[in-house]
Subunit: 333 residues, 2 copies
């Protein structure tokens, strides 16, 4: 093989906002495989907000990426060599091979893509981890009932866009919060949300009140900070808050001070932090429903595709500040 | 009847900290009763933190007390006249007759005290609403497992002291947070908690870390503010936070800004606001267990008794700043 592997390494830990210089790009040999392993040539790398946490040397969901190590992440690609009985060349897979062109896997936590009618990239988005996150957070934790009002922040993102559409499928009023009129228009006109509040317009509390005349029964939180604080004041009695992410906080050294926690007490609210990987038993059901809804045209999605692994750091930094529009991907080949 | 009724009325709404001048004490005629009603002569009035919320004209659990109305609250007393088939003179009852010497009831939400071996005042505390609050919050919401670590703030108070003792009954490590060495000593030496952190000593984070070497699995929150923010950093994965009260915040115009909410996400924590009155179906089971544990000597309690209804405003203001030690009561006769 004449090809070289390209890898994005963590060069240093960010002090606050992540910068391109926190990453280091290298060319290395394409790795060999041993018995029980196979080699994947990645076509798409998924960029996700949780990756910011892995850059810190602090307790988070998982252990941090080490300095000089390949950045962690999920990619979709094709098996090109195999010494594993379960995988053969030509198989399409989603695996946690990280930010690199070629990755070796032993098959653990690998999803084989059997369908041919769904684009491979969707397995990193609407029918992949972000879609399952939306499904489990909204359905299992949020327990939506028909007629309830569901609010989701980062509404045009990979998770948020699925949350609102699943809320509609479940008979709820879906209200998004997104940054800018273009994202809001997309969320309402293309995804079918009932309303969307542009948090950049500077009238968050008023606009949210107008968009949620009956209050909020479920708030699916991806953002945190002032957005969460404002939403708390609109929660109804017995509301549920699936806490999925706090992207507004990841680059801060001093987090936002949340003032309205009293609303959780007064309204008997359940706020539940969750990580999709804890709910593996529910993944098959989630994937089945998501794929079916996608085929039925009831789940739409948008991708923000950047060409080339060398542009991954810049795209990732953009994702953290909401520059993406839909699922952020890197196309490798 | 030559007696006069004494009533404590809400004179005005506090701007921030409640003051004695926010209350107004009047003498009125002892009320008469109609068919289906009975008259209670109150012996003990319960003072509870939730009453501070009723003084505000803002959305809370229940509608606020009106200006010039009798302050709401629960009292234990004796029926002295009855035109109600279910209650006769001599019956001991706990009823929401408010801050007054004599109250009329139609029997709704009245608890008749049948036992004779438990002091009547305990029905306002350890075997009453505060005890049931501890029971339902810890057992139903907290779901304690033997060997887990349970932390409770306001640990020497009516609710907190029961929480820690029930945690011990359930095989947990019980750690209190209380104000001052005397309360901490009481919590450990008399109530049998494993440890107690004095938040007034100025080393809250360090002392809490030392008292919870295996982290915190359940935090029963009565206080909020900096105490909650500090506890959040010690929570274990899948921890539960029954949110019962936020007494540190009730007198503030600008609430404390909670910074460590990220810990709820990282550790997949469930934070659940609750009000004991929502869980009426569980009250009989709670009362039965609490009375049994009290008789077995496994539940201890302490009362802070102030004589005379005229001293209720001052005692209530003291309760809000932690001046009480154990269940705060007013003795009327």
């Amino acid at each position: 093989m004449n090809e070289k592997n390209v890898q994005v390494l963590l060069a240093r830990r960010p002090k606050d906002a992540a910068q391109e210089s926190d990453f280091h790009i290298v060319e290395t040999a394409v790795p060999g495989i041993r018995d029980g392993q196979f080699l994947v040539h990645n076509r798409y790398l998924s960029l996700d907000p949780y990756m910011r946490g892995r850059m810190n040397d602090a307790k988070s969901y998982a252990k941090p990426v080490g300095i000089g190590e390949v950045m962690e992440g999920e990619a979709a690609g094709e098996v090109i060599a195999s010494r594993h009985t379960g995988f053969k060349p030509g198989d399409k897979v989603v695996a946690r091979t990280g930010w690199q062109a070629y990755g070796v896997s032993d098959g653990a936590n690998v999803r084989k893509i059997e369908s041919t009618d769904i684009p491979i990239s969707a397995y990193l988005g609407v029918v992949g981890m972000p879609g399952r996150t939306a499904y489990i957070g909204l359905i299992d934790i949020g327990q939506p009932k028909s007629g309830e009002t569901v609010v989701v922040s980062a509404a045009s993102g990979a998770v948020g866009s699925a949350v609102g559409q699943i809320a509609k499928i479940k008979g709820c009023r879906a209200v998004g919060i997104a940054g800018g009129p273009e994202k809001c228009r997309y969320v309402v006109e293309e995804l079918g949300f009932d309303a969307c509040v542009d948090y950049k317009a500077g009238r968050l509390a008023d606009d949210l009140a107008q968009a949620t005349p009956n209050g909020i029964d479920i708030h699916f939180e991806n953002v945190g900070g002032e957005i969460l604080d404002t939403v708390l004041r609109r929660l109804n009695r017995s509301a549920r808050v699936p806490l999925c992410g706090l992207i507004s906080q990841y680059d801060l050294t001093e987090p936002y001070g949340l003032k309205n926690i009293g609303a959780l007490l007064i309204n008997r609210v359940k706020l539940q932090g969750f990580i999709v990987s804890d709910h593996a038993a529910r993944h098959p059901a989630a994937s089945k429903d998501l794929e079916q809804w996608l085929r039925e045209g009831r789940l739409k999605y948008r991708e923000s595709v950047v060409e080339g692994l060398r542009n991954a750091p810049k795209a990732f930094i953009g994702l953290l500040s909401g520059k993406n529009f839909g699922k952020q991907l890197i196309r490798l080949v």
